[in-house]
């Protein structure tokens, strides 16, 4: 692996992403985890793909949401598929829960980063097992943590403040969805790679449910939108 950065093997490792998904937002609620993402795949500044599924169930207990390079996400899904397959083949009543899957992903992401060949993603892993809710995040450099609410990409800057103010323990399903929609709406207004076709999914002890995609209602008549530079003449 010593020749990783020479010109010939540069084609063998990820240098920049091509088709990317934007933010994923997730929070813990009363019965489990709620996760939301839009269905867009950008090709640079072009919003090229509008039906990309970025939320996927993993095994019986987990849900994975990914932002970043879509092909790397698909590769991760293949790794996880194999992991879950071998786990099921034991056929012994034990199963990998969200914590185990999250840590497995952390190992994978960090090891790839150490080889200078990262999987260019920020992943959100949530799930419920034996009544315990788990929500964690891991990104392409191997940073990982758990929290009551997480977001990737621009979501970190635009939606986490909203969640910090408005999240509390034991949100009902309706409250959780409303909060997520508020977050996704802010992203839709302010993230240029956001697409108005969002998917919400939930995972509870019973299993994962992916709701059909829908569009958010938007309002463009805000005074601030009409005259955005009123407080800062000369800016654009």
């Amino acid at each position: 692996m010593a020749s990783n950065s020479d010109s010939v093997s540069d084609t063998q490792r990820t240098l920049y992403p091509y088709v990317t998904g934007t933010s994923v937002v997730a929070l813990k609620y009363k019965d489990g985890i709620l996760m939301a993402a839009d269905m867009g795949g950008s090709y640079g500044s072009t919003l090229r793909y509008k039906s990309i599924d970025r939320l996927r169930p993993i095994g019986k207990h987990s849900l994975l949401g990914a932002s970043g390079e879509i092909s790397d996400f698909q590769e991760i899904l293949r790794y996880l598929d194999e992991l879950i397959l071998y786990d099921n083949m034991w056929d012994d009543g034990n199963s990998l829960g969200p914590k185990e899957v999250h840590n497995y992903l952390t190992r994978v992401m960090y090891n790839r980063r150490n080889k200078f060949n990262p999987l260019w993603n920020a992943l959100v892993l949530g799930g419920v097992k034996n009544g315990q809710k788990y929500l964690g995040m891991v990104n392409m450099i191997g940073i990982n943590f758990e929290d009551n609410h997480v977001a990737t990409g621009l979501g970190n800057h635009l939606t986490r403040p909203i969640l910090r103010d408005e999240w509390h323990e034991n949100l009902t399903f309706e409250e959780g969805v409303k909060l997520l929609e508020k977050c996704m709406r802010v992203l839709l207004y302010r993230d240029r790679s956001a697409v108005n076709k969002i998917q919400i999914s939930k995972i509870t002890e019973e299993g994962a449910t992916l709701f059909p995609p829908y569009s958010l209602k938007t309002y463009w008549e805000f005074a601030a939108f009409k005259n955005p530079t009123v407080g800062a003449e000369g800016s654009w």
Partner: protein, 279 residues
């Protein structure tokens, strides 16, 4: 047992469909000093008879902590046991590192059994000469398994292996139906009584046995000598309602490791009513 032309290596079947080397390996387990395991819904207790070769030496370590939630007691070739314990510790720690979660006992014993099986099918290897009582906790509760040199493994409510284990097994067979609901203290007491059965007449002291416990909220650990002696004293004084033990089948061999001094009868009056065996 028998010497015949089919027992030279492990890759030779006998005409009767047996692998004699594997069976001889199981004999080695029977020669080692006794190890006993029992489990309830929430705890597993492992105990073993620990006799030093001479007064000058220390005794063999026969119980190993594999992880916070798994421990193993061995009987037979203790060197083989040590090597397998190292393997088990490695597997547990690697799993913990990748998944931040304890390795389920059931999976560890399968890996161990598969490892033992390999040695029954290579002409340049020999089977491990050690039986392992693996006790541990996972999300489905407390488990006790016995891993055999043959590569088989079985789950048990209670079991004993090694020399004079039949005496302990007989005691356990009488009591095992209640073990699921036993408290931690009752389980340890039953383990000590079963160990005493294996000593067959010799006085049970904390210097001749080792006891280890693992349970919900209690990581695997070996009880220190003082604690064990106190527990022994408790039930010896209370005069456990022991029906006299049945006469043992004379087929049980004397293990070389066991210096059967037999001469004990210290506190003869308070001593429980284990009939000395005719051996």
């Amino acid at each position: 047992m028998f010497r015949n032309q089919y027992d030279t290596d492990v890759t030779t079947w006998s005409p009767a469909g047996r692998l004699f080397q594997v069976e001889y390996a199981m004999e080695a387990v029977k020669q080692g000093s006794a190890a006993i395991g029992l489990r309830s819904k929430t705890h597993v207790v492992l105990a073993c008879v620990n006799k030093a070769n001479s007064e000058l030496s220390s005794h063999q370590k026969k119980i190993f902590k594999v992880d916070d939630h798994i421990g193993v007691a061995i009987a037979g070739l203790t060197a083989d046991g040590r090597v397998l314990s190292r393997y088990m510790r490695n597997e547990c720690i690697n799993y913990s590192y990748t998944y931040e979660s304890p390795l389920p006992v059931g999976r560890l014993v399968v890996q161990l059994a598969d490892k033992a099986q390999v040695c029954t099918q290579r002409s340049w290897k020999r089977p491990y000469g050690v039986g392992l009582l693996v006790g541990g906790l996972d999300e489905s509760g407390a488990h006790l398994y016995y891993n055999c040199p043959s590569g088989n493994y079985f789950e048990y409510q209670a079991f004993a292996i090694g020399s004079r284990s039949q005496a302990a097994k007989t005691y356990l067979e009488r009591k095992f139906e209640n073990f699921m609901g036993s408290s931690r203290e009752e389980l340890i007491k039953d383990a000590l009584i079963a160990t005493r059965e294996s000593l067959q007449g010799e006085k049970l002291r904390s210097s001749v046995c080792t006891v280890a416990v693992v349970g919900v909220g209690e990581p695997f650990h070996i009880l220190d000598q003082e604690t064990v002696q106190k527990l022994i004293d408790e039930f010896e004084i209370v005069r456990e309602d022991e029906p006299p033990a049945e006469p043992q089948p004379p087929a049980e061999q004397d293990a070389p490791a066991d210096q059967g001094t037999g001469a004990d009868q210290g506190a003869a009056a308070a001593s429980p009513d284990v009939a000395p065996m005719d051996i």
